[in-house]
Symmetry: C2
Subunit: 171 residues, 2 copies
Amino acid sequence: MPEKEGVTMEAEHTISVLVKNRPRVLARVSGLFARRGFNIDSLAVSTTENEAISRMTVASATDEATLKQICKQVSKLHDVVAVIDHSAHEVIERELCLCKVGVDRSQRAEVIQLCEIFRGDVVDIGNGSMTIQLIGDKSKVDAFVRLMSDYSIKELVRSGKIVLERGAQEE
Amino acid sequence: MPEKEGVTMEAEHTISVLVKNRPRVLARVSGLFARRGFNIDSLAVSTTENEAISRMTVASATDEATLKQICKQVSKLHDVVAVIDHSAHEVIERELCLCKVGVDRSQRAEVIQLCEIFRGDVVDIGNGSMTIQLIGDKSKVDAFVRLMSDYSIKELVRSGKIVLERGAQEE
């Protein structure tokens, strides 16, 4: 994304940070983000196929210049193995959401129908609530959450976005 | 889970932390975990239905006493709204995984078959690779990753576990 001189354009960016799986590394990375005033929209951290390495996926609305700077600084931190900026590449992006909506018996059928349209799955039904599991990119999950807010959302948790670059680019 | 006197039993625990959506709060919480030597297995952070509130899901193998202590300390931090320890409750637990495996054409059919058994979805195919999306609890994702390690895993990302308590308990 080229930028006009003097114009900073904020957009949603995603970076992956591969780190050694050690106690202090998460605090070190998030501490750097905080000191730089870099606002994190979502963060997902877990192990990879190599148990010694964890992968952090950070999503943030920021401008290109700030992003480049922060990537450079993060890559210099102790126990950071690699930093991947996904801005310029085609990626597979997914997020997982669990949403518990308060519904009485008369509303169940319509919520199930909306759930089917979004290819969500009903994973739990209580007397006055229903829990739906949904997978999609951020905008799909956003749209579903907006729709569910017509009912009473009792509890909601999102994993934050995870991404992998498409396979064709690797060959 | 009652504990015998003098015996500390480590087990996988999950806590949810509801925080105000402000820049420094993630660094504050992860800094506390690091200072207490509390090792985080996975962490998922994203907004909730209320844009001012984010939800962090922390998974860690620890003993009950350390867990109780850390929950108490986290709940006292600035911008922390609530801490939920899920140890004693029945929860819906899910994790999302994207796994890119190196497969040649002759291996595609068998990987697709394994993928179907785990109810995964093939979300991308390149000339020499295939990317699979899988949703399940931690043990299911662990089993799938072990299986895929028979092939060459090129890249793998997991969201970390997210949980909601089952609806019946709320009524």
